[in-house]
């Protein structure tokens, strides 16, 4: 695979070898709450997951917090939207009729034991997605041969341009570190108008769902730092590993908090690559 050429080349030249080792890691005794909140204009996405951190070598499932008080407050009106724990989704869910409204700022409130956590996010206007097209491409450098999707649309905003695209193929989300498709306007947004090609080679009959989120900057930064951490191999060329900077703050209690609260509009398209 050409994608790995550079690594293969360097590994051969430098005689790099790998093996699994077991390190006696100094583990944090206190478990830290991990909060992941999504508040969108689509009911299926709206949920708050709360769990606890664990020891590194602990291979058991994450420990969930099921007894927290969770609500989202619409700051302009003071209206509270309560979330209830759902055993089926293993997360806190609001009433399905409750959705984020463009232009509103929302505040997440989580109370658990004697700890209180808060975070805010602004519901931004979504961009415009005109079409999604596919095209067959032969093998290229860094690209396998296959069907490639291009997303065409328009982003008419002068600021707050922070986006994420998620790809779901045949109901299975692409969820590896390299699957974080994050972009902002640092290189302009013409690419979106002229067709943003996604770096996946799909096969015939693939049913692909694309989701586009417009994020607040703090969440975009969190996800960017998360990707950086997931790719951090601990080597000399990597920066010292650091936890992504959460946009959730501890209002009460002597603890840390991990995770993020994201308020964003969702645009989605589903297409199927034809068999001929």
């Amino acid at each position: 695979m050409k994608k790995n050429s550079i690594f293969l080349l360097l590994a051969i030249f430098f005689g790099a070898c790998q093996e699994e080792v077991f390190l006696d890691l100094d583990q944090k005794k206190a478990r830290i709450p991990v909060i992941e909140g999504h508040w969108t204009d689509q009911k299926a996405y709206n949920e708050v997951k709360i769990s606890l951190s664990k020891n590194y070598f602990d291979s058991l499932d994450q420990e969930l917090i099921r007894d927290a008080d969770v609500f989202v407050k619409e700051l302009s009106t003071g209206r509270k939207i309560t979330f209830q724990y759902s055993t089926s989704t293993r997360s806190y869910r609001p009433n399905p009729s409750e959705l984020a409204i463009e232009g509103e700022t929302y505040q997440l409130n989580v109370s658990w034991k004697d700890q209180v956590f808060q975070s805010e996010g602004l519901m931004l206007k979504p961009p415009i997605v005109d079409s999604v097209v596919w095209n067959y491409e032969e093998e290229r450098l860094f690209r396998k041969k296959g069907y490639y999707l291009k997303v065409y649309g328009k982003i008419p905003f002068p600021n707050n341009n922070y986006y994420r695209i998620r790809v779901i193929e045949n109901d299975i989300p692409y969820n590896k570190p390299e699957d974080y498709l994050l972009f902002d306007d640092a290189f302009g947004l013409r690419v979106f108008e002229q067709g943003l090609e996604l770096g996946y080679a799909f096969k015939k009959n693939a049913r692909v769902r694309l989701e586009l989120y417009r994020l607040n900057k703090d969440v975009f930064d969190y996800l960017s730092q998360l990707v950086g951490l997931l790719f951090n191999d601990g080597g000399l060329f990597s920066p010292p590993p650091q936890n992504p900077e959460s946009n959730i703050r501890v209002v009460k209690g002597d603890t840390q908090v991990l995770g993020f609260f994201a308020v964003y509009p969702v645009l989605s398209r589903t297409i199927t690559i034809p068999s001929n």
């Binding site: 050409k2 050429s5 550079i6 293969l8 080349l9 360097l10 030249f13 430098f14 005689g15 790099a16 070898c17 790998q18 093996e19 699994e20 080792v21 077991f22 390190l23 890691l25 583990q27 944090k28 478990r31 991990v34 992941e36 606890l52 951190s53 664990k54 020891n55 590194y56 070598f57 602990d58 291979s59 994450q62 290229r140 450098l141 989300p173 969820n175 590896k176 640092a186 290189f187 302009g188 013409r190 690419v191 067709g195 090609e197 900057k217 703090d218 998360l226 950086g228 997931l230 601990g234 080597g235 000399l236 060329f237 990597s238 920066p239 010292p240 650091q242 936890n243 992504p244 995770g259």
Partner: protein, 795 residues
Amino acid sequence: MSFHKSLLFILLFIIGYPAFSQEKAVFRGQVMDAGNLQGLVGTNVYWEGQVQQGTLTDVDGNFLLPAITLPAKIILSYLGYEKSTRTIQVRDLEKVQRFYLKAVDFSLEEVLIQEKRGDEQVKNLELGKSTLSMETLQSLPALFGEVDLLRSLQLLPGVKSAGEGTTGLFVRGGSSDQNLIQVDGAPVYNASHFFGIFSVFNPDGIKKVDLYKGNMPASFGSRASSLIDVILREGEKDRIQGEGGIGTISSRMTLQGPLLGDKHSFLISGRRTYADLFLKLSSNPDLNNNQLNFYDLNGKAAFTLTEKDKLSLSSYQGSDYLGLDGQFGLGWKNWVSAVNWNRVNSDSSFFDLQSYHSRYSYQVKFDNEENGFDWTNSLSESGIKASWTRVLSSTTTLVWGAHGQVYHFAPTYLKPSVNNPINRRQTQGVQGVLGNAFVGLTREFTDKLSGELGLRQGIYAQLGEGKVYKYNGNAPNPDQDPSDSLFYERSQLMQRYQGLEPRIAFRYLLRPEFSLKLAYNRNFQYVQIASNSSAGLPIDRWVLASQYIRPIQSDQVSLGLFHNFNENRWEFSVEGYYKNLQDVIDLRNGARILLSDEVETELLSGRGWAYGAEFLLRKNRGKTTGWLAYTWSRAWRQIDGISRDKPYNPRFDRPHDISLVLNHKFSSSWSAGLTFVYSTGQAVSFPVGSYVVDNQPVSLYSDFRNEDRFPDYHRLDATVTWENTDQGKKWKGSWNFGVYNIYGRKNPFSYDFRVLYNNELNFNPSDGKVFSTRPGVVMTYLFAFLPSLTYNFQF
């Protein structure tokens, strides 16, 4: 203290010595090797019966000796050469006299490994200075058989490496960008090949290297931690000669000889790797269509213009290239040139003028119509330095001069290909000028006490054209857009800094073979790398001091005890130091700086400090030579925004560090070398737990940076050399066989904390069915038992 007051202080210091006004007759000479006509540095020169009032020759073999009643006999002695005695007449004072010393056949008992007088380390004023000769360098076991200057310096006390196999240096707690690496006076901005595995210096082109770990003379400056002063070789003047080597990964060739007669000379030396040639033999298309190579080319032409004037032109060019499939390429280049003019004005006065230009550039290119790009950047430094040396008396020498530097950090360009819809990006260029005036006085107060007082005053200015962004509260913040911006016209002053850099050193001779030395040094550094990785990358961004980035200030105090014994066969030294660093920078979490004009929003700044003790036991003569060095040291940083604002150790902090270097000459043909290194493991952060967010298993880290350690590092290397010593043959060859990491120690290069699927290290869940997942730790290590073979030749 203002600059004027400082100069007045110096003046008063000088005037305090009546010797200043006394012009004494001086005898001038130059000592050369009769074999290769190269100047002999460190030759002991004295009048018969006055050995204590003698002097040493400089790097070109020149010396000055206060005249006595003539005629008188002058004696020149240099270890490994026949002693020379000549009667000097009064008329000989009129011009420079040349002396040619003949090398004695090395006996097995007297093998010389360094170019200096036996008791020099006790007698001189130097603290924290090490000199490596090429003989020493070439006798050390080397990675891939490639003799490497910077990696060899890592064997000296107080010098740490970034990690396994890399050439980055961390000197007495300073970062790698705090070292000034210069070739014949010209700085080299990226001194490494292959991402730091090799340094850019072809050993065949080097005469010697001096490492100043803190106590620099006032004539040097602009870096906070060290000076690595590389002097290139001059060609021989008698006949054309060549030498070279064929190694495991590269070959090299040097030609030298007279130029336009016997007064001038040239030397040209080249080296190229051929890893990519082997790659083409591979049947794997992922390998055989790729390129991975570097080359070096350096040359020096030396002209003896008159008896008083010497001019040399030096140039180095080096390049790296990594290419994939003919479409993607990453390359970087150094091009460094220097002109040096040395003039002997009178019996007691010398003048040196130096000018240089150093340019570093890189390019990342992806050749594709749809989404290709061309990303380029370059930076340069030009400078001119003039220094005057005046020998005021047999005990007092004054050096003064000025050094002007111009920095030009060109814009970074990102040019998309024709059909690539991303915007073209261009950062703004940055310019700066730095003017330095320096003065240094060296004096022997008594037979036992000598001292050096130096002052260096730097005035730095960042100049337009350029834009400076303004931020609310004057606090750059990546989460807030600038509140305003100011545009400066071309050459308009944007920011100015100035700093006085005192340099003080004293030596007290407790006994003839035992001395105590004390030194204090201050340095300012106006350029630095904005990076938080431990090893340098070709695309690292250098930043100049500006309104938001203050120059680094380094203050170092050091104290040393130096002792020679057994007729200078053995040297022992202990040096302690404390260094304080102000305004060092680091990056915020997730900083993006490579294509940003608002770099200041991504930077954090703070302070650092380091302290340690360095022990060195060295044997310079005999069948067996080498040294044993032990360093105990600590390095700290405290930067708001990192490690909860608490002090932390940078990755290169390694409290214990041992180097053992041994060379043994079995016969005139056979010799062997061995090095053993041990150090505390690197300071790193290991996970203190894990969690799941956004469906990703994520390692949890402490807020406090680098509280964990890699396992201790140790390694043993060995080399055996056989050389043809048949003096009658024009072609002389030698074979060198070496093994790096002879007992195959698996020293970790990295620990990767990741999920292992199906109990396999590199199973990708998209490539097959997943039966099991669990957290794991994967160690990557390099160079376990790496043999090499090199053939060297001379003709």
